[in-house]
Symmetry: D3
Subunit: 240 residues, 6 copies
């Protein structure tokens, strides 16, 4: 079997995490996974959503977008169409949940961080890249708050990163690009913490149902892949 | 450990699937899982969406809604607010994917079925109940088409049903109701086929991350639960 | 003359009012008029709309919806389309006005009740059935508030019920079903109080204009029909 | 009893119908009923709505609007708010139905007329004034089509006009202005044809319910009022 | 060269400014520039937008609309379409900026004026006519506030008026009507103050680019035109 | 006088135009003007808008967006808010007009190009930078079409570039950054062609009105600035 990308089944795409790329944001990171490129920014605000006011607790939320020509053929601009698609909303809910899973919201105090993940070029795996890059942006934003004496300590309890895996021609492969993703029989996104815990598992059969054994081998690949991503995150965040 | 519901860890809520409840629909099923009650209807149309015209292939899609007072406190009516929430869109996409996974779209010919899943009373597990009930509605609608000589054979390749499981006070439990769901550390929805294949796995850590072992024990419970649901589906569809 | 339904000109359809059907609502009633079936819930909130704040007065409002497959052919879901139709808004304004007409808003104090009328199956007369059923839901919700010591006395001053009448093949008939309604020359909805007062009269010529005499004979039928509905309401509300 | 306006109970406000005021429209009429002023235009298009294509039948529809400062205090602009209110939709549906009631849609052939009724100044009775003025605009537009040989004969079968009446301090009065309307116990709009038939009756109790006798006395006043309006319409349309 | 309108290159269309035409508004003016007719009203409110609260400063803003049949062929009603076009928003922003340029916002105190400019008939130059007419409406509204002792002095520092000019068949002409505007090679709107200052210049090449010399000759014509408009404004405002 | 930026009055910010940065687009250019950074892509489609079908003529249109954290403090995402602001629509209309001014739409044949200008970092002058960068993207897209034999010759008739100038502390300065723009008394955008023609002039007095002499000196600066931009465009397009 040769993958369309020519990569070994357990090979991640070349991954680059570039911190501090957004001039105005409190934290930011541009992540490239092969040809996929996402700009993640973390914006700090001193106001929490209504349901948290007076609780002393903070909030982390995410928004996701794609430039119209991030894709092979131009997609409609969601702002022009007047609403975000179901896919967009599903992805931004996932990013938000994943980052909140490693954040001590109480330690934040009443402050909110919005993570904007904007896809500049799409070649598969944009939601996973968003999570991985957003962690760096969030870490940098929190550090900025510590430097400004707004926070006494780092509210992040652990790292979090994500990678997609899939069954391609019957075989489990790591980190699908667009060409692979569109032909995979099964597609699964794993969100894992630095200590190896599972934050989110989303497996979907595109054609035939998959088996428990297949699910486990995909998870094994995801562990390998995220290990590398955790190292890159630490290096980008300067805590390597 | 005693669950809030008093059920054994591996006990499903009392489940009732009542077929043919909607006067006008080609197929329908009211499903009750404990206090959760969802009305599923299948509406057949001879027109497919634009991207399928001329392909000879059919389509199955789903919409999900909740009556404003299905919940403990009244929720806004989405029609009045002017848009469907991200949660609603995420759920209806899941239902659609799950049912398409067991449908032979080519065998349908150019015809479309819309599955409407409307929650009359909500007490946890509404998306899973929707999938389980929608299968019966879809089966009955296809049978109606066969009787009308619109279809030569049944396009359903297998059964599909779903159940949610969770880690509650450290222990895996089956079929969470609302009280349990809101306190579970981990919540996972499993969509399984009659032959035991996995169609969709969605696990989310609400608090602490979960482990691979926990994921597997949840999957084990889901298998038990869906076995019972498959029997109820067959009986409701009159193919028991 | 034989009506499509076979009923005598002054015969109501079999009417069933089932109270307390919604688990979470403060008051509820499922009403069936023949094949028309509407679920009415009353939700109590301690906040009134802005224009009433500080006046010591309460408010009663209504929302109306129809499940997509309540009708012969599936209708678009209003939540998916992103707005309520003119028809929906017209109906929910009518229901709200009708119920306010028999409510002592001052006696309520600053509290609001939302009446949700959701049509599960439509076979003509859904707006009238909504009004008749909503009165029971509202009565039960107010009684619940009295039991909870939130209200000292019942703010309902009278009963209110509605029925549609029409000119069918030149003859006045009571309680049109869908088949009759779509062929009636004139269609009129009457909202009457228990003491015989008129709250709302809406007569519309579908074909030829109608005469004053015809309007009066329709009103006579409506009086007969609502007399029966008032009895059923009292029985459903347990005040028979 | 003295009405706020000082008028006799059966006195219409000074009514002026000015035809041909809109430079571009195929037919138009500015109607003043006292201080209420509505600009009605009829726009002819050769395309009918989808549900009529190929039927050889025409259509008449209406849209209603109010300039933001037509009212005592400025109202939000519906275009800026992004949707038409329920009240606006209810009114434009009523205008459309009323004009279709006197139009021979088959005689029109496949052509559509849109009646735009825009309130320049509001002082009560704007929906009734819209109907009365729209009839003149529609008549002129049809005559324009006859002159252009697009129509062989006049598709209007009769005149139609509307007036509101009410119970004010217990007494029936004709043609309510804003001050009267906001204090009337009952408010009823009557749409009548030139031959005396009823097209639409909409009576609403604002406070106490009303009686059959009151409804009839209001209808009597409406007949008197519309008689005068029919003369003014014929004169404005040049068919007096 | 003869302009389609037959006017001399430097001739304004017949201009009529009629003050006080809107019964309810604090200030109003109907302006006609040839066949173009715009109704301008000024509505005073004691509440400023959030960003000005507590600053002691006032605000002037504008909204622009067009009746559906103000144009040769009927345009969609923006309220029905559910949003204002880009053109509408561009124009109302321009009107607001232009009027604020001659208003001493501090002298207003915390009060807001909304200028509604609604086009009753369109024949080119509607945005310019709106600005010219809105100044009169605003002046009258401020005078009303002075009479009511809400304002101690007139917050208008100067007059402001606007006119469009264009290059038509190579020659600069003043005050384009619709027929001229649609064939002009260049179209420029000038907003000028009574003392001759420039508030806004918007020149657009419709075909070939224009030269600096052409821009200047258009500006020269605009000066001539606005001189006449300033006189008409003073006369309409009664300060001639 | 020293400008906040320390630049000489007639000094452009460091300008970098990087062609071909978007992997999927037919043409693209990332433009930096100091800290302002805009990504411009040109997407070719073989379908023209309805009003051009069958005319044999092409179309060029533009959309403009800003990443939420392109600005000092985060702005709402327009896709989430459900509509584009008036400012966004005004800018994208300007970009489209400017590029059409130098395009031979007939020579394009029935094909459409959408120019997406997305601001990655905003520091003043984003609309001007968008125009300048979009020209390069459009040129490259047309060249791509020539290489693919879809176009026989280059439909661009000339170059087009834009720059903003302003009066700052009484003195005309070139190419305002955000700090300068927010304090400038007058702000003017000039869109010029390679041959020196004016395509668009938009001058706005932010405080005091400006004079004709000032307008001319700003135009003089704009000529200087665009000369440099034209050279950079040619170099980026490889036609230097």
């Amino acid at each position: 079997m040769t993958r369309p990308s020519g990569r070994a089944p357990d090979a991640l795409r070349p991954a680059i995490l570039e911190p501090g790329v957004a001039r105005h944001a409190e934290g930011s990171c541009r992540i490239r996974m092969g040809n996929t490129e996402v700009l993640c920014t973390a914006s700090v605000e001193s106001r929490v959503p209504p349901f948290l006011r007076g609780t002393g607790q903070g909030w982390v939320t995410a928004e996701y977008g794609m430039l119209p020509r991030a894709t092979h053929t131009r997609s409609d601009r969601e702002a022009a169409r007047g609403k975000q698609s179901g896919r967009t909303q599903e992805i931004q809910r996932l990013i938000g949940r994943s980052l909140r899973a490693v954040t001590d919201l109480k330690a934040m105090g009443e402050m909110a961080v919005t993570l904007d993940c904007d896809v500049l070029t799409a070649d598969g795996g944009t939601r996973c890249a968003s999570i991985t890059g957003a962690w760096v942006a969030l870490h940098l934003a929190f550090r900025h708050c510590m430097k400004m004496n707004v926070l006494a300590s780092m509210p992040l309890k652990d790292q979090v990163a994500a990678v997609s895996c899939g069954i391609w021609q019957g075989e489990p492969v790591l980190d699908l690009d667009y060409a692979e993703d569109s032909k995979a029989e099964t597609d699964a996104n794993f969100v894992l913490t630095g200590r190896g815990g599972l934050v989110e598992v989303q497996g979907t059969a595109e054609g035939e149902p998959f088996s428990e054994a297949q699910l486990l081998s995909l998870l094994g690949l995801a562990r390998q892949g995220t290990e590398q991503l955790f190292r890159l995150q630490r290096s980008a965040a300067g805590i390597g």
